[in-house]
């Protein structure tokens, strides 16, 4: 296999493994589909260019997240135009959901958007990207105890807001 074909194969494997999660992560960071697509494309282009510097495929996920977060910081360096109120963000629903479930999921999505970024980002790294507390601490360059506090407060706020929204049940 030529080195270029091997490179392409390696890239495709990374894209297959992390492409959808990276898009989801970007969408939650940007709250705008067009921005998220743009951010993801920039991330993958930079990944493609720098692929030879990725020593181990096992490090691919954190490497991609680092690139994405750097691109996000670059794009959002200063002020960001208000593309959409978080309350207007709509995503397609799972057709198999019960109507009550859909309402709860939609409320939860809106409340995730309302979380302060310092709570939202660790939560997304954990739930979307499957990071451990140690990995989140490393990615965000904060202590593990700070990560644990932020994760707990994120969930605490989400549950409180769901209860304020009238969602009963055991949340």
């Amino acid at each position: 296999m030529s080195s270029e074909a091997w490179r392409q194969e390696r890239f495709n494997a990374l894209a297959n493994a992390y492409g959808t999660d990276l898009y989801r992560y970007a969408l939650w960071m940007c709250a705008n589909d067009a921005l998220a697509k743009d951010l993801v494309q920039e991330t993958w282009l930079r990944a493609w260019k720098a692929l030879d510097r990725l020593n181990s495929d096992a490090a691919g996920k954190s490497w991609l997240i680092t690139i994405l977060r750097r691109e996000f910081a670059r794009t959002f360096e200063r002020k960001v135009p208000k593309f959409a109120d978080v309350n207007t963000i709509e995503v397609r629903e799972d057709s198999q959901s019960e109507p009550d479930d859909r309402v709860e999921i939609q409320l939860l999505r809106r409340n995730i958007q309302k979380l302060p970024p310092r709570y939202r980002e660790p939560l997304l790294l954990q739930v979307v990207m499957g990071y451990s507390c140690d990995e989140i601490a490393q990615q965000l360059a904060i202590s593990k105890s700070a990560v644990m506090t932020q994760l707990f407060r994120a969930r605490e706020q989400l549950i409180q807001r769901l209860q304020q929204d009238g969602v009963t049940g055991n949340v």
Binding site: A15, Y23, L39, A73, R78, V80, P81, K82, V91, F152
Partner: protein, 239 residues
Amino acid sequence: MSRNLSEFIRQLGTDPASQDPEFLRVRNSAPEFIQAANDSAQFERMLARAVAVPVPEHVLADLKETARTTTGGATRWRYYAMAAGLLLVITAAGITWRMSAVKFDSVEQYVAYHYHHDGEDVLARADGQSADNIGEVLSGFKVKLAPGLAGMVSLIKFCPTPAGMGAHLVVKTANGPVTIIFMPDTLVADGEMLAFDGMQAQLVGLGRGSAAVIGTSSQNVAELHYLVQSSFISPGSAA
């Protein structure tokens, strides 16, 4: 029992999928712990569904295709050399670096830096087809493109500008593709010409913000001044 319920609930809220043996043991140690674990599991299921927003089918295919059509490692050294050269210029000019962001003393420095950063890459990505996301990108800036210029756009994407986010466009012209940087919150001296590394750019004042039209020295970017100035219009305009 080695830990109390509030401690257990805190751990559930921090790392609900923990496989720590002590955590797993406590989970089943008493009815109130079992109840807390069940409540947490129900919330985590809902949370997992909430964050799993549907991903458009074309996202993966698009990024693979983009990589396939983008020059990879072969030109990387040239790219780095260019960036290194620019870094020297920027350092000499006294531009302040902060985190991953670059602050600029002038629009002229921004235009040169931004084009160095990814101008050639973005040009290479423009495939000559008409872009179908113009409205999607520009709507956030409360602006739209008049049909004439819109029909010439082959790529549009978000980009940083000296005063927040803007848009990076590639437009097809008779003399080849030209780059336009839309800066919605930056004022410029209308008509000012810039030159850097074989490229030339003209700054264009717009009704809202400004633009930089960038081409090679053999492309007469000034010819596009009127078209660009009259084409970034408010969404309510009839054009």
